[in-house]
Symmetry: C2
Subunit: 283 residues, 2 copies
């Protein structure tokens, strides 16, 4: 498999070869945005869902569902709803990870009790359950030689996605995931922030933040990753005034205005409204 | 290692032996709530953080930080804040996974722009980034023969935890994780809902829900898992009236009232207020 020869993040950071096969898979993750048309081997879906269900879940509430889309016409529609990303239609399997309190509300009705988990914690718990399960599925798929790409753009048109997936009140789509055999692999992993920016010992510290940002800016600018992908800021002068276009510049442009966060993230300004209409509460 | 001999979820569900080492680790997860005092091998923390940083992150925003607590006195204080769970003080390493928009706000100031990601999406994106990273760390640790336990109770006293960890505005503790050498291992994994309740083909369906709940109730009641751990409902008759005390009964009791969701989850009713005071927005 092509992934076997890829350099993992452990080697990149000078930690040596991965200590075991799990770390090798974790450390070699890159998002896959081009898929072969090959179908998945029989039983793959069942293995992936078993991986999801093996994951930690808060108080064993299992507050998530997974919708598997394989129908080509439905994948086309999803692709259009998720920012016209062609690889969504191309990949043989699309999974939607859905925080689910419908099932818990159903249980309460069934057992003759009111549903009382109406506060922010329920939303957070269900969203976290779904995210944890998604990451296990990602690693399970990658261990089987498959490529994956998380699709946060599933939240761009949340209401339309809910309609397409037939999600009842109390269920929403947190993230999608494309799964299939990779049509190309990337020789190296994408550089991340230096560890000193993310890891804090005993207490949060900003001591190394500025140093880490400068290092990372250099790394990312040198990687060429932003070439042709710079975020346009129409109401700012075109010149960088000698500043480097690295992660800090790119990312600050993205988060400075909702419409620059992603192609269609301005739509996500409506997310709360859609979720409230769909039974979620943020009290 | 003791975990080598454990039956995984794949075998339990009749899918045969795990297809590879990654699936073996994923499929054999059980939470570890008893740790040996043995310190972690040198370099373990760096390997775990590298696993976290290898994980998918929305738009490469890397909107999370990890606080590592090893100091015994601080772990004692955390243990008290997290529902007096003794294994928190016992485990050699406690990681707090913290959604972090402080760094993104800092970037905006640094690059001379306003911060515009003030809507629910930012909270959700950062929380998801932190959760995805947490699951990679969990599997990385388990691959190295360590046991882990996610600690959602870190949200029970969010303000006090923020104070202890020195979290700046825009950073909060989503979940903790205890990591250490297991003092005991569990021979089998905990049964989950039948797959037909969680997996939906093409669209959400409740067709198999009732059947799945009946099966799961039988399984969980027979497992003895609720013996001595039934949730008390002081304002209800003590009798079950012939109903089985399974997952449906247990879980409906927990989610019917905030104070029964977990030992101290009623405290989590204040979570939104604390987060708002700490710079988070849910618009």
């Amino acid at each position: 498999m092509a992934t076997e020869t890829k350099q993992t993040r452990f080697e990149t950071l000078g930690l040596g070869a991965p200590l075991n096969e799990v770390l090798r898979v974790i450390g070699s993750h890159t998002s896959c945005r081009s898929y072969k048309p090959d179908p998945l081997p029989p039983g793959t879906l069942e293995h992936l869902i078993t991986a999801a269900q093996s994951t930690s879940t808060s108080s064993n509430l299992q507050a998530y569902s997974i919708v598997a889309i394989e129908d080509p016409e439905r994948k086309e529609r999803l692709s259009r709803l998720c920012g016209n990303q062609k690889f969504i239609a191309q990949s043989p399997l699309f999974l939607a990870f859905c925080p689910d309190k419908y099932r818990l509300e159903y249980l309460c009705k069934r057992q003759g009790r009111p549903f009382g988990a109406t506060f922010l914690e329920m939303f957070l718990l269900a969203s976290m359950d779904a995210a944890l399960a998604a990451q296990s599925v990602a690693l399970a798929a990658e261990s089987m030689g498959l490529g994956i790409c998380m699709v946060g753009a599933i939240r761009n048109n949340e209401q339309e996605v809910m309609d397409l997936l037939g999600l009842p009140q109390g269920v929403y789509a947190l993230t999608g995931m494309c799964i299939g055999f990779p049509d190309r692999t990337y020789p190296t992993v994408k550089p991340r922030l230096p560890m000193k920016a993310v890891l804090h010992r005993e207490a949060y510290s900003v001591e190394h933040l500025e140093e880490a940002l400068c290092e990372y800016d250099e790394t990312m600018a040198a990687s060429g990753i932003y070439e042709g992908r710079q975020v346009e800021m129409p109401d700012e002068p075109a010149t960088l005034d000698g500043r480097i276009y690295g992660w800090a510049e790119h990312t600050s442009r993205r988060v400075s205005r909702p419409e620059t966060l992603s192609e269609a993230a301005s739509l996500r300004k409506n997310l709360r409204k859609t979720l409230v209409e769909h039974g979620w509460t943020f009290a």
